[in-house]
Symmetry: C2
Subunit: 529 residues, 2 copies
Amino acid sequence: MTKAEKVLVGGKWQPADATGTFRAVNPATGETIGPVYPVSSRNDVDAALAAGRAAANALLDVPPEKIGEFLDRYADRIDARSREIAEAAHLETALPLSPRLADVELPRTSNQLRQAAAAARERSWTEPTIDTSLNIRSRYAALGGPVAVFGPNNFPLAFNGVSGGDFAAAIVAGNPVIAKAHSSHPLTSQLLAEEAFAAVQEVQLPAATVQMIYRTDHTDGTYLVSHPLIGATGYTGSRRAALALKAAADAAGKPIYLEMSSINPVFILPGALKERSGEIAEEFQTSALMGTGQFCTNPGIVVLLEGKEAEQFIGDMRGRFEKANPTPLLGFGGLTGLGESVEALEAAGATLITGGSKAPGSGCRFQNTLLRTTGEAFIRDPEKLQTEAFGNSNLFVVAKDADELEKIADSFEGNLTGCIYTDTRGGDDVLYARVEPHLRWRVGRLLNDKMPTGVAVTPAMNHGGPYPATGHPGFTAVGIPASVRRFASLQCYDNVREPRLPAELRNRNPGGLWRRIDGAWTLDDVRVS
Amino acid sequence: MTKAEKVLVGGKWQPADATGTFRAVNPATGETIGPVYPVSSRNDVDAALAAGRAAANALLDVPPEKIGEFLDRYADRIDARSREIAEAAHLETALPLSPRLADVELPRTSNQLRQAAAAARERSWTEPTIDTSLNIRSRYAALGGPVAVFGPNNFPLAFNGVSGGDFAAAIVAGNPVIAKAHSSHPLTSQLLAEEAFAAVQEVQLPAATVQMIYRTDHTDGTYLVSHPLIGATGYTGSRRAALALKAAADAAGKPIYLEMSSINPVFILPGALKERSGEIAEEFQTSALMGTGQFCTNPGIVVLLEGKEAEQFIGDMRGRFEKANPTPLLGFGGLTGLGESVEALEAAGATLITGGSKAPGSGCRFQNTLLRTTGEAFIRDPEKLQTEAFGNSNLFVVAKDADELEKIADSFEGNLTGCIYTDTRGGDDVLYARVEPHLRWRVGRLLNDKMPTGVAVTPAMNHGGPYPATGHPGFTAVGIPASVRRFASLQCYDNVREPRLPAELRNRNPGGLWRRIDGAWTLDDVRVS
């Protein structure tokens, strides 16, 4: 077998026990690029699990300051190697080097790690709760097993299994990570993992705190997430793979958090169109075509009320989509998938406004695509017309009246986001009040007058939503402390002697941690009577 | 078909669409008692789901004060009818009328509802988080669908599907409840549901806020928890039924919270035995035999270090178990199950110290039972020797040395609780430090010098634990606000105009709700710059 790159397993870079090899493809050219990478066997998975469990135990004794130091050092190292990492990601994903990768996603990634470092030190994610009269105290804490993180193809840095939000959240909670690199960008993942491991060694964390394998076959993926030694799993990617992993993890009683699909409906109410159609068209174009539309929060469906303004808006968007050059998709699998989704939408009755086919040339490009359908058709077959078309394709749904608009809102499945644009003078308020209640509990994040792309890394963010957008409506993948709680267990101490308590639950609170004592949040010590 | 009692479906007491009937059995005598109850068909389930979803929508507009009023009025009504309810529960479960049912469980039930009423008004469970510079705000909120609650047989009041902790938590979060009464105590459930529904009508909540059916066949149970209209499910009971429901709910992407099995290991370290053996024996007897040992937190396994004190303790316990009269079990199914579990433990190598058989007479009684095994045997076959024997049967595991003690701690599966008894002078501290880290992440609640029965209803309580004690290590069934969060979705508002925000997220905070604004918990308003 061809000599392949090493995997990061068991606290060192070591030759994989490989069942095969693969290489990356540049989606802009179709060329095979970069080193040869291994497909790991179950032996590699077993080795990672055993080392991960040992690291999980060892991490229980590691002071939080040290976890913070690791995350900071890792962030610094990414920044120091930013050019090489961003260039690798550019070649492997065809996402623009600048500004997207070098100036937006890479700084976001290291900033995210620094936010995580601060959270690891500050520890408000542990949410200490103390009832003094009964001497019962609880907090969130590590899981006691490694967290498997599967990153997606569309954010090679900020959601990478070895550097992204799930990685950071799992580490903050004191869990080691077994990263499954996305096999569309192995070199990017390798460079990141090199820096992660160097930082692990520099601050002397347990060596298997970070592990990474490049690819396994599907049965070994389900084996990993359902293994007795695993703590939990974070997954971002396609619904089909997500559901296979979910079934395996669920059957084994292992927590799994999925971010798997979303079409992110945008309602543009008539007053808003009258007031600022051009401005909204500009916002929609940017949000829909940025990253070739390959965002979890891409505004896949736009709902309009029938009329002159709606037709003008659709005409304007058609012109804009036809004028813009289609940028490359992330890979040929995605290109095929997008074509199939557009066909499925047409088969369900949507009509093509523009695009709909592969763009000419050898690269991985699809024509910028718009489709439309009626509210009546959508209400009749909401499932098929909600087929996610991941990429530069969007669907208009045109309602004939307010009743239909409300029924459309009542027909969506769970989504990450939902947006409503209204005019600024109150003309759309009655319609807003009819649409909002239906949309509200179907989406994780409700927006006004703003497109859904752009997920701020901030405590109040919810990058989550009801199934099938994710696997559970109560968790978010972005926004500390809530994102950390996914990888934590609730630990209660009942009548435990004070010196035996973890620092967060002791009487004294020297670090100024927010704690809920007898129902009130405070920075004070526990008063001992 | 025999005329059966009505079910509470669709906002009224109405005849069931019954596929059969059943009656309760008095476990103390074996006699069939009370009215004839229906086994509901899928039509009843469908009717409850449709009405529940409509009620869920209607509840979104109900002010929290009114939900609090409902819970308070319901509590008052239970207290006003306490004698009748406790007597029904006594006949249907054979649990002692006094103090257990009338003086402990019933007041606990109404107090729990009053705590829930306060939480519904106070709303700290919504955990409002506001980031002012980005104008992103989030909170927990209702699910948008009804919550199915399956109560267990062992707490006919405090965990009843129509009056217990899961019921209260689901209602606090603004969800309607579809209760599945436990079919061992239908009259108790009927009386409670009558009061719940009267309170619903009195405060004019949506009529289907509370619904109840008595029994379905298993396939209709899995249909209910996996139905598109359901919001989530809370279940307390046997592991087998729990796993069947979990599989169905998981496959449909519906949250389900299970409390299903736990053997609650208790380590009594040698210094503690030397210091206060008699006192600990008294505590253990009370905890092990109260309610005929039918508690989720029954101390099923006691781990001791080999020696004279351990043998004396076991001898003392044998005398106590033989002297105590066995009290009735909850039903004949449980009697059979307990006998089978004891046989399974013996087959796995445990030896009988006392008991082991059905007690004489017509009632549903099993001899008070003790078994023992060695540490070596336990470590060799931890799965079989952790067979839950639900009732008045407990197992001693005797370790030959400290290494074995530590390995035993490292062999337990997920449990609700784990206890460690130590002496008061530090003589057991070295052993404690070896055992505790293994036990800590395997149990939801760690206790010192205290038996696990007795689950205080208080914010810091964790009545939860890693699988297979429950389905997820991050949630608790007891302790508001955390228990409420199980039945809530995370809802984020991004750039939403201030007057459109829910009360918890508006700038002004007239009710004095704790909110996390820009990372700090405060009772203040949002400062508008």
